[in-house]
């Protein structure tokens, strides 16, 4: 059973009276422990697809199976729980809380998971996570006092604080220079290889995409190639 399976997912956006199709019948599967890139030009629908995969958005039609569960039928609260427990998100613009310490930023998701962690345990866990990403001496720094690479590392620590099996990254290197980009991508590879975390990354940059095992090309709301794991082996199938 694949970790993620999409069957004929469609998504339309309503622009006034006009219905604009963004995804037109997307089907794909991602196995546990894969690292996958969603690649396409801007407006191709790759971000919309990732939002649907991350349960931030709902498809107009189609089925989304996650760990054998039909996700698009879940209530808003159940999807929130899923996001909290099973998914980690890394965004292009970091999305850290301003004027809040790195530690509090990382500990923030713990407040919503109904975890039976005390305040102290939560902070300890967040501190441990930050140390792992080499930010042990930056615990009390606010985002404005951190460099771009450091901010993204705080964001990655936040995404992993609930130990999710699946990590979504939306253009994670879009706001970083090439050196720190390399650093962050290596970090993803390391997480993938050492921890077995499934990674789904959205990017328009082939160089970034080359850091993942499989590349799914998207164009005009349809998958061109790479929809299924075995497809990668058969070039041009």
């Amino acid at each position: 059973m694949p970790l993620i399976e999409l069957r004929d997912i469609c998504k339309d956006y309503q622009l006034g009276e006009l219905s604009v199709p963004v995804l037109r019948g997307v089907s794909l599967a991602v196995e546990r422990g894969e690292s996958v890139s969603l690649m396409g030009s801007s407006g191709s629908g790759k971000s919309t697809l990732m939002n649907i995969l991350g349960c931030l958005d709902r498809p107009t039609s189609g089925e989304y199976w996650f760990e054998g569960q039909e996700v698009s039928r879940l209530t808003a609260d159940e999807r929130a729980l899923l996001r909290n427990r099973r998914f980690g998100f890394v965004f292009q613009s970091f999305n850290l809380l301003p004027r809040t310490s790195a530690l509090d930023n990382v500990a923030m998701p713990l407040a919503y998971g109904a975890h039976h962690l005390t305040e102290h345990e939560a902070r300890e866990r967040a501190a441990e996570m930050l140390r792992r990403f080499g930010l042990g001496d930056r615990l009390d720094h606010e985002p404005s006092q951190l460099s771009g690479g450091q901010q993204q590392r705080v964001a990655i620590a936040r995404a992993l604080i609930n130990r999710p099996p699946l990590l979504f990254a939306d253009e994670p290197t879009g706001n970083l220079d090439s050196r720190t980009s390399e650093e962050v991508l290596r970090m993803f590879e390391q997480l993938h290889v050492e921890e077995g975390i499934t990674i789904i990354m959205v990017t328009h940059d082939p160089k970034v995409a080359s850091h993942t095992q499989r590349i799914i090309h998207i164009q005009d709301g349809q998958i061109m190639d790479g929809a299924f794991a075995e497809a990668t082996g058969r070039e041009g199938a």
Binding site: D77, L81, R83, N84, M108
Partner: protein, 453 residues
Amino acid sequence: MIYVTARTAFRALRRNPMRAMLTTLGIVIGVGAVIAMMEIGTGSSAALAKTIASMGANVLVIRPGAASSGGVTFGAGTATTLTPEDSEAILRDCPAVKNAAPMVRARTQIVYGGRNWIPTYIYGTTIAYLDVRNWGALAAGEPFSDRDVMNGNKVCILGQTLVRELFEGESPIGKEVRIQNVAFRVVGVLPAKGANMMGLDQDDIVLAPWTSIKYRVTGSSLTTSQSSGSSKSEKVNTLGNLYPGGSSLYPARSAVQEANQPLPVRFANIDQIMASARSATEINTAIDQITTVLRERHRIRPGEADDFNIRDLTEITKTLSSTTTLMTNLLLAVAMISLVVGGVGIMNIMLVSVTERTREIGLRMAVGARGRDILRQFLVEAVVLCLVGGALGIVLGHGGSMLVSLLLRWPVATSPVAIATAVLVSASVGILFGFYPAWKASKLDPIEALRYE
């Protein structure tokens, strides 16, 4: 859970102290204004009520009913049924009555040296009269005492008009005036009160113990005619406890003896009793209580007519109650406006805050916050702001009214009710006005919120 949410709220508020301060300012000003207005207003209202009350709004006049003989009725106040004991009983048994003074009236010439004058009022009474009529502190000297009343001492207190007419400005204290050829020593001078509502000069007055006026000035025809010569009783009404503690000459009589041979009591009737109700609103209660007490004392059976009548100064009372109502409504209007202003202020800032933090809301939702988590967070923030603002508002409002009372010598009254109401109402206003933005935030679509620029 609440604790964590409260901590998150505090952290969120600390992240933007300026915004938090501005929001709080709305409630601080709201609560402060309400409390200051209520305290200043209540003080003014009380002072106003006191001023009007000094005109006699709380005063009740109890006069005996009409005597009639052979079908001829002699008019109000002619019955000889009202006694000083009635006055004491009214004071003792009527909770709504603040004070009561028996009164006898006289109209006669008063002489000092080569000058003479006929005052509008010569009242024999007790010192309670000064309290009932709100005379306040004497302009000079001392009031006469209860002992003077018991002894029938020849002392008196003069009004300003008499001081002017008889003494031409020199101090009358210690001098002797003659009232109907009885020499009275002047012990005090009343402060000026001016004319009453009918235009009569209220300063044209002489006050003396009622016993002195009754027995020494107006003659004692009524009392002697009814006192029995055979009576050796020591129960001579109020004069009876002149020497308290003295042993009785005769053995105490049993209840049966009392019933069989009631001791003739030296009966003294008085012209009227002046009583004051505790407040203007208790006037009707006081009238009812006095009626009950007097009917019982005068042994009037149910169905029989009262042998007395009670009058209040309705005209003044109406002025008082309408003034009080007006003040209360005015205060209410001002308080309401302040609270609405404070509430709208909170709502505005909270709405701005929600818009400003849309991305934060989106992010929190992306990492697993449910709609109700967001709702709770914003609501807790609003409540925290309201509580802090309310506390500051109390300090500000109370301090403000204190300042007004200190600098402007304005009468203020601390009103715990106003404080409680202001805090309660402002907290609910804050929650109410904080709820809409919070609800709006919780209904945001995570992806819309995340994309919001």
